[in-house]
Symmetry: C2
Subunit: 238 residues, 2 copies
């Protein structure tokens, strides 16, 4: 189970490179596979489309049970909204003899933060707005709790083509507790060659172009813009 980082080859770890290099089979979501053709070489590949997670993980486990070393790749960190949990669960249920090792990677929150400056220097929350697997009411409750507690919040999966209103509601929830001038930002394709960074505020964030490839970061009123970069001051007297 290999996290290949946010996109650009430079953000891959040595362990991810070694894992793929040592594999006979590489399995992944088709669009991620296209980003690692340089690593795949002549290895056997299995790729499937969106929402085919179970089929993909099962195919990887089947290949491993047949005696192959298999890399099942996730973008970012396989353990953060990736396939690591499903691999462990499905492995235990159907392929108990297959050993599973998790190789951590640079998650999109880290890449987005680096592109913006340093918005995650203090405590933060990471919340996905996708309600495919978690009821929206529970996501709303979490948003309300972290907004009220003043936590900087990283929103994964802020929007898709079919899912528009969740981000509108999330911004409304933060607006109950934070001013419209609170710095907020969108990073699309964080950590890849197509990265786009847009620094705005809570009152204007919904005017930006936000897609399923974006990360949204809503800071708190302690955040500052320093030389065009977003920083949560850590309390050192500078």
């Amino acid at each position: 189970m290999v996290g290949i980082g946010p996109g650009a080859p430079e953000h891959r770890t040595q362990a991810a490179l070694a894992a793929i290099s040592n594999s006979q089979v590489v399995v992944g979501y088709s669009s991620y596979m296209a980003s690692i053709t340089d690593l795949i070489g002549n290895r056997q590949t299995i790729s499937t489309g969106m929402r085919k997670e179970i089929e993909r993980v099962r195919a990887a486990l089947e290949k491993a049970a047949a005696g192959n070393t298999v890399s099942l790749v996730s973008s970012g960190d396989a353990g953060i909204y990736g396939m690591a949990g499903l691999a462990i669960e499905l492995g235990a249920a159907e392929f108990p003899d297959v050993g599973i090792e998790i190789v951590p990677g640079v998650t999109a929150a880290s890449a987005a933060a680096a592109a913006l400056g340093a918005p995650l220097m203090l405590d933060f929350a990471v919340i996905s707005l996708s309600d495919l697997l978690v009821p929206w009411d529970r996501i709303r409750e979490r948003l309300d709790a972290v907004a009220k507690a003043g936590l900087v919040t990283v929103l994964y999966n802020p929007r898709s083509k079919r899912r528009i209103k969740q981000l509108d509601e999330a911004v409304e929830i933060f607006g109950k507790y934070r001013s419209a001038q609170t710095p907020a930002a969108v990073v699309t394709n964080a950590g890849s060659k197509d990265e786009e960074v847009c620094l705005s505020d809570l009152g204007h964030i919904l005017e930006l172009d936000i897609t399923m490839r974006s990360i949204v970061i809503i800071t708190s009123e302690a955040a500052r813009i320093v030389n065009g970069r977003l920083v949560m001051p850590r309390g050192y007297a500078v």
Copy 2:
């Protein structure tokens, strides 16, 4: 500003290796510097001890202002409880002509999660129990909010030699909302060759050996132990 990952050389990214390789000067906390002697080679080094963050960052900026390419290294991700924010702030205040690039890394939460299984598959919060730079009352409020909202929580800096009671209070706060059987874990030296993993529960977590090099993860009641590994089920029907 280079995040060198959680400790083991295998978790370094290509970008971190390239940044140090392209530098004339490497600056960092003395114990991190010892973990990258293989990368430093004959480069000039400046290392300082704990709590000398401002001196360290200023030394790096001075060297850069004098025309050197400098790597200021942080363990994990430089943008998560690292030096990235201070570098941007101090740079703007004292060395406005120095360009600062942030190279993200694998943060300790990702490494700890990978060692345990997949506890961060769903939303989570990251909170430091160090009250050196944030008032303890504010940290308590955040802990209460995320505990109440059912978020899996990663605690950085859970204890130091002088700071013992904060973790006791944090566990007490989670105990208001979650049962003593809620899975909880300690990973010490996550992602390094000395990594130690201990899976327990909220009722017994304080009996474990927890140091300033530990990460504590408190899950929610949805967490499961699968084949000895900690997993937050993501809601796929397996």
